[in-house]
Symmetry: C2
Subunit: 206 residues, 2 copies
C-alpha cells in the first residue's frame, strides 16, 4: 500500500515538527496503526477569528488567530486589531478526521464508529479504488464580527459569543475519548499493520 | 413499493394544505415522478430566529420567526420581542432534500447529482433495504443574538448579520435550478413512475 506508506511518512514528519494538534497525536497514531487504514488531513477541533475577502471566498481567507483549545477574550481582542479587509468571523469547529480504507467493509465499520461516538456528520465515499470516511461533528459556529477592519460588536457581546464558541469546542472534543476506545476495539479485531510498526520504529523511535 | 405510495400521498396532502415550501413544489414533484425514487422531509432553505433552552437542545427549541425567503429587519426585530428563555440565534440554512431510492445505483447517481449541483454536503447511506441520499449545502450561519429574552446586539449589527444570512440563503437557493435540470436528465434516463402518474392525477388533478 504505497499511499499508506507516504501518508505515514508525512504524518511522522509532521509530528516531529510539532505540526499535529497535540490532543490527537495518540489517536492519529492509533488509527494509522490499524491494518488497511490511514489518515489524511485531520483537526482536533479549533476556534479562532478569520478574515474572508468576500462571503464564501475560503481559499483567500486568513486566520487572525486559531487555537485548538478554548480561546481567551484578550487573545481575540488582540487578534481583531490585525483585521484589514473583508468579513471578520469568529469560528468554532469540531474535530474532523479523514480516514482512508482499503476495503468497503472497513469504511462501513469506521463510518459506524464515527456515528456511534457522536460525530453525526460522519460520511463515506469511494475515491479511486479506496474509501474515504470523514468523521465530523455538528458543532459549527460562525459569527460575523465586523468588516474591513472595523469591529461591529461590543466587548460584552464578544465575551458572550466566545463563551458559546468555547463550549461548542469542548463539547466536540469531549467525543474524542469514545472515538479512541472504538478505534482500539477495531484494532483488536483487525490487527496492527506491520508497515506501521516498521516505519514508526524507524522514524519516531516509539 | 408501499413506502413510496405513502410518501406520495403525504406529499400531495401537504401540497394541498400549502405546507410545502412553494419554491420547491415543482422540484419535489419532479423527483417523486422518477421511477424508484421518492422524497421525505425536505426544505427549500430558510432563515429565522430560534430560541434554544440550552446549547444544542434542539428538540426543545422554538422558532420565533422562520421564512423561506430573505428576512426583513423589521420582521426580525418584532420576532425578537417574543424571546423568553434560553439562547437566541439567527439561523440561515441551505436547501435540504431527503431522497429515498430502491437501488444503490440510483442512490449513487443522485449523490452525484447533488454534488455536481453544488450541494457539497451531499451524502448517502443504507437504511433497511433502501438508500437515503441527503442533498445538503454548506451555507449554514448561526449567530447568537442574546439570552433569556435579552438581546445583546445593536440594530446596526442585526442589520449586518441579516444581510449576510440573506446572502447565504440566496446563494444556497441559487443551486436549485441546476439541481432541477439534473433531475430532469435522470428522469429521461430512468423513466416516469406509473404509480406517480396514477396517484397525482387522482389526488392533485395535475
Amino acid at each position: 500500500m504505497k499511499a499508506k506508506r507516504e501518508a505515514l511518512l508525512s504524518l511522522f514528519q509532521a509530528i516531529k515538527e510539532n505540526k499535529v494538534d497535540e490532543d490527537i497525536v495518540e489517536l492519529l497514531l492509533l488509527i494509522n496503526s490499524i491494518k488497511g487504514v490511514y489518515t489524511t488531513s485531520s483537526c482536533s477541533g479549533r476556534i479562532g477569528i478569520i478574515e474572508e475577502p468576500s462571503l464564501g471566498a475560503k481559499p483567500l481567507s486568513r486566520w487572525l488567530i486559531k487555537v485548538h483549545r478554548p480561546i481567551k477574550f484578550e487573545e481575540a481582542k488582540k487578534a481583531l486589531k490585525n483585521a484589514q479587509k473583508g468579513l471578520i468571523f469568529l469560528k468554532s469547529q469540531p474535530p474532523i478526521f479523514h480516514v482512508v480504507t482499503e476495503s468497503l467493509e472497513l469504511a462501513r465499520k469506521i463510518h459506524e464508529i464515527g456515528l456511534s461516538s457522536g460525530f453525526k456528520y460522519t460520511t463515506y465515499k469511494v475515491i479511486s479504488r479506496r474509501y474515504l470516511v470523514e468523521i465530523n461533528g455538528t458543532e459549527y459556529l460562525t459569527v460575523p464580527l465586523g468588516k474591513d477592519g472595523k469591529v461591529f460588536v461590543t466587548d460584552e457581546y464578544l465575551e458572550f459569543v466566545i463563551e458559546i464558541g468555547n463550549q461548542m469546542l469542548m463539547r466536540g472534543k469531549s467525543r474524542l475519548p469514545r472515538l479512541r476506545e472504538k478505534f482500539e476495539e477495531l484494532k483488536e479485531e483487525v490487527g496492527e499493520d506491520p508497515l506501521f510498526t516498521t516505519l514508526s520504529t524507524e522514524k519516531l523511535s516509539l
